[in-house]
């Protein structure tokens, strides 16, 4: 099916945004608050110490990491929850019956995931701004890595939602795949603090590049060269999008 329904795509995008805004306490306020709690806890646990190998205090180091972690987790939650709710409650058929191509559906879902991720990060950063001395060193990199992270995680959420048959399946992916990969992506530490072996393992975690590049955009320092990592990140976005498109196109686990 060729992409010929821009109004339908726009409507689906708006529907997805309206859906999470209807429960904004759960989808916006709570994630921003959770990220702030992490920050407060680590602030008091670590004191005024600097991050080893970086001339920056731990508090400032944490802020961009927590922001992108919240973005990634919420982008994933947005698409996966929408998909699994549709499947479990039987609403999925309306989307399958609509004259929307796979590209249109995936575009709408991922765009809405990006919007939710951006809102959560904006709320989190806006609340913190008066308390932390943080600048925007490279706004372009912040946007690039922020949007890329949301697209990748939104895509993974979409795939998980297509695969899952119940809420438990989605929770399993969230808790056993997404949470560990985001927690171990350098949100709370610099990879230079890790033993050599773990540094090498970490190099295979795509979320590490997202976190590091996003942080570089704010602080101008990081563990890798964010300009060199752009290829890995954009490649990951492309692979995720194509996979989402293909799976929706064939009706994977949705059509008998």
């Amino acid at each position: 099916m060729r992409p010929i329904n821009p109004r339908g795509t726009w409507t689906l995008f708006l529907r997805e945004i309206r859906r999470f805004l209807k429960v904004k306490m759960q989808t916006i306020v709570t994630p921003a608050l959770t990220a702030m709690l992490y920050l407060v806890i680590f602030r008091y646990a670590m004191g005024d110490r600097d991050v080893p190998g970086m001339e920056i205090d731990y508090f400032t180091f944490l802020v961009p990491g927590l922001a992108i972690m919240a973005m990634m987790q919420n982008a994933f939650a947005n698409t996966s929850s929408s998909m699994i709710m549709g499947k479990v409650m039987g609403m999925q058929i309306y989307l399958l019956m609509a004259p929307l191509s796979a590209i249109e559906v995936v575009t709408a879902f991922l765009a809405a995931a990006v919007v939710r991720a951006m809102i959560v990060a904006t709320v989190f950063l806006a609340v913190l701004m008066p308390f932390v001395d943080i600048s925007l060193q490279h706004l372009g990199l912040i946007l690039l890595y922020g949007v890329a992270a949301s697209l990748i995680m939104g895509g993974l959420g979409l795939i998980s939602g297509m695969w899952a048959e119940n809420f438990d399946n989605v929770a399993m992916v969230t808790n056993f795949v997404i949470m560990p990969l985001t927690f171990l992506s350098g949100v709370f530490y610099s990879v230079k603090q890790l033993p050599e072996l773990w540094q090498q393992i970490n190099a295979f975690n795509p979320f590490f590049y997202l976190t590091d590049g996003f942080r570089y955009g704010f602080l101008g320092i990081g563990d890798t060269d964010p300009f060199a990592s752009v290829t890995i990140v954009l490649g990951s976005v492309a692979v995720t999008f194509v996979l989402c498109w293909y799976l929706w196109h064939i009706g994977w686990r949705m059509k008998d």
Partner: protein, 313 residues
Amino acid sequence: MYALEINGLGKVYKNGNRALDDVSLTVPQGSFYALLGPNGAGKSTLINMIADIVRPTSGSVRMFGHDLFSERAWCKKRLGVVPQEIAFDPFFTPIEVLRFTSGLFGCKPDDSWIEELLTRLELFEHRGKGTRQLSGGMRRRLLVAQALVHRPELVILDEPTAGVDVELRRRLWGFMREQSSKGTTILLTTHYLDEAEELCDHVAIIDRGRVLTARPMRELLQDIAASDLWLNYGRAIVLTDADRIALAAFEPRESAEGVCLKLGRAAGGESTFHVAYQAAVARFGPPVDAGVKSEDLEDIFLRLTTKDREIQS
């Protein structure tokens, strides 16, 4: 022009269940078409294939002359489906559901049409409520509104009146008749056969994934429906061998009050009523009362499906 031309459609599920077996049907444009069959006959599988929820194993479907499987977007824009299962996004109100559905089908939401749908389906007062607050009957009517909101040329109603009270059902059918008179083709599945007989001008009966009959309703009721001539003598009549031989053409049966003869059509197409009546009078004398009972759609449905199951077993 046909709204639907279904040719050799088949579906075998992964578990080996053959839900549809070489189904061929034509649904004329503008018709009110009944698709009947017992539970598990394959009706929903057929509908879901047209709606792109189930993939066919074989066969082809053309909708208004366009290939359904290669021109999905074109066909989907012209199709509205009321599914059997009631499901709504709990986050939205009826008016939001209708506006979103309209947009998904590529149409700018037409507020006057949405208002008319809500009014005619008696949902206008409830337009701002969450869908979870609606009763079962209201949700089913909202499904109908949702299927019509983008003004489709073909509407498929999969048991739309299940759980709807008689009064509302009547009004719903009145509304669907109006849509039909405006040229919308309607394909209906229902277990209320009296409704199908009253509303529909064409009918197909399917069972075990196969079409048992598909024809105009009038033709089915005239040509396929069997009629019985009941002759009341005020007493039981015991048929002798001679009676049975003399009345063999009418398959005579004894009854508590007399005798019953099966009517058919003579070579010229006229009913055999007169011949049967006279033959009975010749054997038993004039009855005290007599009457003709013709099969209705339900009788034909039961006869065809029962016969098919007997043959299959």
